[in-house]
């Protein structure tokens, strides 16, 4: 469960995160195809110190790239709980916000913030790599305390 308060998250120790935000390897569903170019060399995310890690205990940011089905939402919740504070959840695309293109599907969840607290939503289907970098910039502003995170369902 998330027990960090707003002050803890913007604590000086958290400010060191700006140098390197590590991303967890939860590359799920449609937004995956625009997250791979972000990792590759044209839109290189490693120049900002961001790498893809395999263990949730090492990660700071969780990118939820698109729709989640009823089955994968359970594992998403478990991974979210295993990530240590401070952590940020960024939801990519229109599917986590309102169901998106699969608004009448019997197997996808429509509002991601009923399952895990979300800090930031990025519109697009899928969002371009430039939009993802804009979101990373906003996350860094949240760390510095210049912007309030939109944590709902906390």
């Amino acid at each position: 469960m998330n027990t960090a308060t707003e002050e803890q998250r913007t604590h000086k120790a958290a400010k060191r995160l700006i140098r390197a935000l590590w991303v967890f390897n939860w590359f799920n569903s449609c937004g995956f195809t625009e997250l791979l170019p972000v990792v590759a060399s044209r839109f290189d995310m490693e120049r900002f110190g961001m790498i893809v890690v395999g263990s949730p205990r090492h990660a700071d940011v969780l990118f939820v790239a698109g729709y989640q089905t009823f089955k994968s939402a359970k594992y998403l919740r478990r991974i979210y709980e295993q990530m240590p504070d401070p952590k940020f959840v960024v939801a990519l695309g229109s599917c986590p916000f309102s169901g998106g293109m699969y608004w009448d599907s019997y197997n996808t969840i429509k509002h991601l913030d009923e399952y895990i607290p979300v800090d930031l939503y990025i519109p697009g289907c899928p969002p371009r790599p430039e939009a993802i970098f804009h979101a990373v910039g906003l996350v860094m502003e949240m760390i510095e305390g210049k912007r309030k995170g939109g944590r709902s369902g906390d």
Binding site: F70, K71, S98, G99, W103, D104, S105, Y106, N107, I109, K110, H111
Partner: protein
């Protein structure tokens, strides 16, 4: 159409279209025809599709068979009654590809294949409703009840129609 296949399928009034043959056969004849078609070279089962016809009271299964030598299709249709959907499995003829297709049709339509060793759920976990691809499953009401909430302002539109 090659002569052996036309002799085999002639009693069932097949329809030819380009390099494909569409034919409907009765349920009792199905295993025999499958075996003979396999011996005539139709050894690649591309897919098994299910179609639900509630007005006729049947679930229709279409077996799409491709022959690598003849380079042509035979689409075989078998009908099973909706209230008792049961028919023999084709696993001993076409192997793994038949087994996994039958598992999917079982999950989505509720059709039972006798002698298929493994009919456990494939895609859906903890599914409580009826088989989802049947026409009497009111999926819009199901989605509305399960995933949308009338108190949320952005969901109001979904409740209108």
């Amino acid at each position: 159409m090659v002569t052996e296949i036309s002799k085999l399928l002639e009693p069932f009034a097949p329809r030819e279209e380009g390099n494909a043959v569409w034919v409907r056969e009765p349920l009792e004849e199905a295993p025999r025809i499958w075996q003979e078609l396999r011996e005539l070279g139709y050894d690649y089962l591309a897919a098994i599709s299910g179609v639900d016809w509630p007005n006729r009271g049947v679930i229709e299964l279409v077996y799409h068979l491709w022959s690598l030598q003849e380079k042509s299709f035979v689409h075989l249709k078998v009908e099973v009654p909706r209230d008792q959907p049961r028919l023999p499995s084709a696993c001993h003829i076409w192997g793994g590809s038949a087994a996994v297709n039958e598992r999917e049709v079982h999950e989505m339509f509720g059709v039972e294949f006798q002698d298929n060793p493994d009919l456990s759920p494939l895609f859906l976990e903890d599914w409580e409703g009826p088989p989802p691809f049947r026409k009497d499953f009111d999926w819009r009401a199901y989605v509305r009840e399960k995933y949308y909430c009338e108190d949320r302002e952005e969901d109001r539109g979904y409740y209108k129609g």
